[in-house]
């Protein structure tokens, strides 16, 4: 069922949106949050489990120190305070994929709180206040079989895989975000994209949205323009791409505006996001009386990270992605558009590595954003999955610099590399690609060109040196492109006395 929606401009003319984002990040620790089970993605169901993550009677959790370390790093990168002492709590509720029927999470004592971060949209910077980042465990995964929709309703039975149960999660929660309504959706998208880059740079997560290692819950409410009273919010769960985050915010604004302007009321509820149709539908109604019966987890001792440890971790933090990007753009002299292409095309790190191997930034950009981006696109693979890496690009560029190749030949070498024909040297050998630098061979070709084009020579001699270009072209054609054009020009000029 598609609910009526208002045009976004009409919606924003009457209402101001308020957002809140909750992002769940699966950490890439080798073992789970509370036991030693491996965390590898995609293993056969229930092969990565033990009494602890299966919640068997008698089993007890023990906190994974690496997960705490990752949580602190994330907190620090988001300018949060790190708790001197915090605890886990039990969130009691029933769900078939939750083996203990409570989730061990943090409640009123998160490890990181009160932070801020910034995102840039269309050249403007927006400050996002952070509420908290807390640690918790993931649930198992239920597959509902036999129904038409794959949902539990109508299914004949359900299968549960507990491999994911107990994988460490960090939930990152913003305070309310109030930005101009026409920017809201873009800011939401930019925030999640920024988080992804940040988490990647920290090395704490694989940040694969397609595998669910980064999932966003999007809270949206509307208030009449200019009003300060907050409206009722909805929570759209598990939005799993940047684009969907943007679309989900826009959709909820237009949907809620339609409900409100027709005199209706917004229900406080969770909503499901539908990627295919771009709409949300009602999920579970969620009131403030939702009673999880939180209480401090008695099976775990409190977590009290020493200040020394926190400072040690702070010292290891990499440059924030946004800061680093601005610095690289400045150093490389890229335009905004070039920089955006590099980032969006996942070429930034490849260019960095290539430049580190001594290749001029402009050349690195040319190959990665040109030839290689095209090849990746044509073969439907990721840029970093190509059989050509920074080392190969640097090798080819070195051959261009020392005059062995020109750009045209270099492109053919890349073609050979992509086809797996061997090393650049082998490809040059096999395809006979090296530039001819032997003067006598070039002079012979020049002689042939002069002999074949007396009219051009005539023009040059009559005071039109620009006409010599045609002769160069003829020589290059004769040499099948394997001549250094500058060298040809030099020899021709000497020959013609210009």
């Amino acid at each position: 069922m598609t609910a009526a929606v208002l045009e976004i401009n009409d919606a924003l003319a009457t209402y101001d949106p308020v957002m809140g984002l909750e992002v769940h990040v699966e950490l890439n620790t080798r073992s789970k949050m509370f036991c030693g089970c491996p965390t590898e993605f995609g293993a056969p169901p229930n092969t990565q489990t033990c009494p602890v993550c299966l919640g068997l009677p008698g089993a007890l959790p023990v906190v994974n120190a690496k997960a705490v370390e990752a949580a602190i790093k994330i907190g620090l990168a988001l300018n949060c305070e790190i708790a001197e002492w915090c605890r886990f709590a039990r969130k009691n509720y029933f769900y078939p994929d939750m083996p203990k029927n409570f989730q061990t999470s943090q409640y009123d004592e998160p490890i990181a709180f009160n932070g801020w971060t910034e995102v840039a949209v269309d050249g403007a910077t927006y400050r996002i206040e952070m509420e908290r980042a807390h640690m918790e465990e993931d649930t198992g995964k239920a597959t509902h079989v036999g129904g038409a929709t794959g949902r539990i309703h109508g299914a004949t039975h359900s299968l549960v895989d507990y491999n994911r149960a107990g994988i460490p999660l960090i939930e990152i929660v913003t305070k309310t975000i109030e930005v101009p309504g026409d920017k809201a959706a873009a800011v939401a998208r930019a925030y999640v994209a920024m988080l992804r880059d940040l988490l990647f740079s920290l090395g704490v997560s694989d940040v694969r949205m397609d595998q669910g290692s980064l999932r966003a819950d999007v809270n949206v409410s509307l208030k009449p323009s200019g009003s300060t009273a907050l409206g009722t919010r909805t929570e759209t769960k598990n939005v799993n791409s940047f684009r969907s985050v943007e679309r989900a915010v826009t959709y909820e604004i237009t949907r809620q505006a339609a409900v409100l302007s027709s005199g209706g009321k917004i229900l406080q509820e969770t909503r499901h996001w539908h990627e295919d149709t771009g709409i949300t539908t009602a999920g579970r109604e969620k009131s403030d009386a939702d009673d999880y019966r939180y209480f401090p987890e008695p099976d775990l001792v409190p977590v009290a990270p020493s200040r020394e440890w926190v400072e040690e971790l702070r010292a290891t933090l990499p440059e924030a992605p946004s800061v680093r990007r601005a610095r690289l753009q400045e150093e490389w002299g890229f335009t905004d558009l070039e920089m955006r292409d590099a980032v969006n095309g996942n070429a930034l790190e490849l260019i960095v590595s290539t430049v580190e191997l001594g290749v001029p930034p402009a050349a690195a950009k040319k190959w990665w954003l040109g030839e290689l981006a095209r090849a990746a696109n044509d073969s439907g693979t990721e840029l970093d999955a190509l059989p050509v890496g920074p080392a190969e690009v640097a090798e080819v560029q070195k051959l261009v610099d020392d005059g062995t190749l020109n750009d045209k030949l270099a492109r053919q070498v890349f073609e050979g590399l992509l086809a797996g024909e061997g090393t650049p040297a082998e490809i040059i050998e096999k395809r006979g690609l090296a530039l001819v630098s032997d003067d006598s061979a070039l002079l012979e070709a020049i002689d042939r060109a002069i002999a074949a084009n007396p009219d051009v020579v005539e023009k040059v001699n009559s005071g039109k040196p620009a006409a010599a270009g045609a002769l160069i072209g003829a020589v290059m054609k004769d040499m099948r492109g394997q001549a250094d054009a500058a060298k040809v020009r030099q020899l021709l000029n000497e020959k013609l006395g210009i």
């Binding site: 008698g58 089993a59 007890l60 023990v62 039990r90 009691n92 009673d291 099976d299």
Partner: protein
């Protein structure tokens, strides 16, 4: 050697060391005793005859091969059914776990096995350790070997009854509010609740995580100490386990010198509601310790009066959460799974059939105490009381080395007497509960028989965290002084059980 069952664990160890008896003989003697008397006592839920004999034989083989063995290697033991033992049925006294065979050993069980201790079987208990009489077991009541019409105490009634019926020289119990000490007192045996975190909870089916403590049950102080040493110590699998050396309990039990020890009698644990015979034996024991050179003073712990209500909010709160996992989906009882009922309905039907009345009562209590709007008034308040009680202990331990009281207000009561009156039942744990709330060490030692009914009375000793050795010091002193009067340990005064086989 027909009297093998009357020997202490230490004596049995000596017999094996000097090759006068084998573990197989000793184990068989106890298995025979179980066959002979357990029809009346009903201490065991499951007897692992084959497993026990196999373990015994393995120990005998190792000894024959000249291997160096742990002090209690080859001695049989009865295990409370709340600890997981790989491949052996474990029910926690509940129908909801009927037939469940855990795929793993509790840390305590691992250590017992590593020490070569032979596990005879699993003992009866109040369902999920909720109770003070073992009448709440889903598998029937255990009877007190001193008087079969009486309860043996709870929740570890099976473990204490097993050792007092000479079915095993040693047993493991768990103590959440007194479940080792109170049955110990009622059966004239030694029951020790080690410091919380001194013994691992890994594999102990949780009642209340912040209170549960596994510990030893035995007929003598030395036996308890030997068993204590075998199971205690840091366990990386239990986050609340204490990473400190185990106190020198065996040495303390052997030495038993209380000269100069400062002993505090807790003023609040006595008087109204305490059986005169219990109070009389308690005061005589205090007298005796004074004669042995201990310094005795009266100490006040004003917040102990709130321990019972605080405990009965904290315990059900934690229990309500701990028991949520029993949803009939993955193990244990499943009722109504006929293809028509939803998963929720199957869970509800299974819980209805699988949980007993006391368990349901406490789940409801705990769920309510934790629910929003009531949390602060109940759970939060109880936690504050807990802090005050810990402070009472800390203050008291500034003046004295150990605190003492009767272990229970009365001797063992008759089966059926209090089962319909939960509050009366709860009051039985008045003396034992404060130690659980504070996490410190405590034990009950036999100190005589009450004049009114001729039933055993327990002498309760409480010691600071990780000073478990002080318990054994007092227990050892008391035991040897009383043995002089009685001509042996109190257990020798127990009436003979009629052998029914």
């Amino acid at each position: 050697m027909t009297d093998l069952i009357r020997k202490t664990a230490a004596e049995l160890a000596d017999l094996m060391a000097s090759k006068q008896a084998s573990s197989v003989e000793i184990t068989q003697a106890h298995l025979d005793r179980i066959t002979a008397v357990d029809g009346d006592v009903r201490a065991f839920l499951h007897v692992d005859t084959e497993g026990a004999l196999a373990q015994a034989k393995a120990v005998d083989d190792k000894r024959a091969a000249g291997e160096q063995l742990a002090p209690l290697a080859g001695v049989p033991l009865a295990l409370k059914d709340v600890l997981t033992q790989e491949g052996v049925p474990t029910t926690a006294g509940s129908k909801i776990l009927e037939g469940w065979k855990p795929p793993y050993d509790a840390t305590v069980v691992k250590r017992l096995k590593a020490a070569g201790i032979v596990i005879l079987g699993k003992t009866n208990m109040d369902e999920f350790a909720m109770g003070s009489s073992t009448e709440n077991s889903a598998y029937g009541t255990t009877h007190n070997p001193w008087d079969l019409t009486r309860i043996p105490g709870g929740s570890g009634g099976g473990s204490s009854a097993a050792i007092s019926a000479y079915e095993a020289p040693l047993a493991i119990g768990t103590d959440t509010g007194g479940s080792i000490r109170q049955p110990g007192a009622f059966t004239g045996t030694v029951g020790v609740k080690p410091t919380y975190g001194g013994t691992s909870r890994y594999g102990l089916i949780a009642l209340a995580s912040s209170l549960d403590t596994p510990g030893p049950c035995a007929r003598t102080t030395l036996d308890a100490a030997l068993l204590h040493e075998a199971i205690a110590g840091y366990d990386p699998m239990d986050s609340t386990s204490i990473n400190q050396p185990v106190p020198a309990v065996v040495e303390a039990a052997r030495n038993g010198d209380v000269a100069g020890l400062r002993i505090g009698v807790v003023k609040e644990l006595g008087g109204d509601g305490y059986q005169p015979g219990v109070e009389a034996r308690f005061h005589e024991a205090v007298e005796l310790l004074t004669k042995l050179g201990a310094e005795v003073v009266e100490v006040s712990c004003p917040h102990f009066q709130y321990a019972l209500p605080a405990y009965y909010l904290i315990l059900p709160s934690e229990a309500s959460s701990n028991l949520a996992k029993f949803d009939a989906m993955r193990y244990g009882l499943r009722v109504g799974d006929d293809g028509e009922n939803s998963a929720e309905k199957v869970t509800a039907l299974s819980r209805e059939a699988g949980f007993g009345a006391e368990v349901k009562r406490r789940i409801i209590l705990g769920t309510h105490a934790l629910s929003s709007g009531y949390y602060d008034a109940y759970y939060g308040q109880a936690q504050k009381v807990r802090t005050l009680i810990a402070r009472d202990f800390a203050n008291a331990y500034e003046q004295v080395d150990v605190l003492v009281s009767p272990a229970t207000p009365t001797t063992a009561f008759a089966i059926g007497d209090r089962i319909d009156d939960p509050i009366a039942m709860y009051k039985n744990d008045l003396c034992t509960i404060p130690s659980n709330l504070a996490g410190n060490a405590a034990a009950s030692f036999p100190c005589g028989l009450a004049d009114e009914d001729g039933l055993p009375v327990g002498f309760h000793v409480m010691a600071p965290v990780l000073r478990d050795d002080l318990l054994y010091k007092v227990g050892g002193a008391l035991e040897s002084a009383l043995a002089e009067q009685w001509g042996g340990v109190l257990m020798t005064k127990a009436p003979e059980l009629e052998v029914t086989r």
